[in-house]
Amino acid sequence: MNNMTQIKHHLTDQLLIGYAAGTLPEAFNLVVATHLSMCDSCRAAAQAYDAIGGAFLETDAQASMDEGALEETLALIGKGPSAAKPMAASDVPSPLGAYIGGGLGDVKWRSVGMGVRQAVLSTSKSATARLLYIPAGAAVPDHGHRGTELTLVLQGAFRDATARFAAGDVEVANEDLNHTPVAEIGEDCICLAATDAPLRFNSWIPRMAQPFLRI
């Protein structure tokens, strides 16, 4: 865990733009925000895309405010800021910690078979976010995708037919990718995954298990 890790697989421009524009489902925003907390390069790109939003705001249409709007706003300011929730100390980046309600030790894992465990995080319904725990050397059942699936590695590493993904790396899988992620020997692998469509598993047993996976 203490070796230097270098992020090789980053977010796509499409995801970064969607995050800046505010058009992604919540579960995707969570993966993006967590990756940005770990990756300088994508954080800089995200800020550049924010700047485009700022330029639109500056140069776009205007809608006149109601009479007395400034006074009302000053009165609103007088009521003070809404209290910020105190953040519990966490071993994961804060956006993810807020969804777990703490750190990895607080995750309520459920077994999904073959040693793999998962925990679904509560987000809006248009996409699902979950934590995956894959024991060293174990595989996540072969599955295809109907939509987009993002997988961010938090600990350990996994490989599939396309590449190796280590801590901080994010895999963006679309409909074409049919893959079997396998955790590397040596360390259990923990990932944050988000998908905007139910996964479809290609083998019989995982299909049986699908209702329990809640995906």
Binding site: I7, D40, A45, I52, T59, D91, P95, L96
Partner: protein
């Protein structure tokens, strides 16, 4: 350094060695390798001073000027996003109140005031219109040594202004396409119907518009 729409800086991914440790987030301001030679230029119309006055002196006049400029823009943005006029009015007041309360968090070396307000308005849109939480990246902590430098602020603010100027200079049709692409409204058939252009032409126009923007950023 600003890298608008340009991800080529990533191909040589060896720029950063991210110490991963116990999933700790990275730290900012490790990229000051080539501090540019900065001409002595006064920042004009950037609103940065206004925010400083709000933060330091709770200056209501500075706030009123910011409000007059930005509130109508935020309101129009929220209405465009689907808010009714009365909801947009209420949300805009909340956005501007947030600006006051969070003025101390504004970092002029990382965003222009317009960009910063845009992010607050966007988060309000997600919260109030889409009824979702908005996960934000971990806050970067500012140690005394990480105080943003004047040169960084100047460069960032100037580049933001150039971006705005470039946006204004674009032919309105191209500008509209970029905006639609940005806000995810780029349904190809819809655009084709609107502009009477086939898909290939739309895509090449979009590329042209983006490269023009990129050009201006250099």
């Amino acid at each position: 350094m600003f890298g608008i729409l340009d991800r080529s800086h990533e191909t040589g991914a060896s720029e950063y060695q991210v110490p991963y440790g116990a999933l700790k987030p990275i730290r900012p301001h490790c990229q000051k390798a080539n501090t540019p030679t900065v001409k002595k230029t006064v920042l004009q119309n950037t609103w940065v001073e206004h925010l400083k006055r709000i933060q330091a002196d709770q200056d209501q006049r500075a706030f009123a000027e910011l409000f007059a400029h930005f509130a109508p823009r935020v309101k129009a943005f929220l209405m465009k996003s689907g808010a009714s006029p009365s909801m947009a009015e209420e949300c805009t007041q909340e956005v501007m109140a947030t600006l006051w309360h969070k003025a101390h968090l504004f970092d002029p070396s990382r965003a222009s005031v317009a960009t910063w307000i845009f992010t607050i308005a966007r988060n309000k849109k997600i919260d109030a219109l889409r009824k979702q939480r908005r996960p934000e990246p971990e806050n970067l902590e500012w140690g005394p040594e990480a105080e943003p430098e004047a040169a960084d602020i100047l460069v960032l603010q100037q580049e933001s202004q150039q971006l705005t100027e470039a946006m204004t200079a674009l032919p309105s049709q191209q500008r509209e396409l970029i905006e639609k692409a940005y806000f995810g409204d780029l349904s190809h058939s819809e655009i084709a119907a609107e502009t009477g252009l086939p898909l290939g032409t739309i895509k090449s126009r979009l590329r042209l518009a983006l490269s023009k923007l990129r050009q201006t950023m250099k």
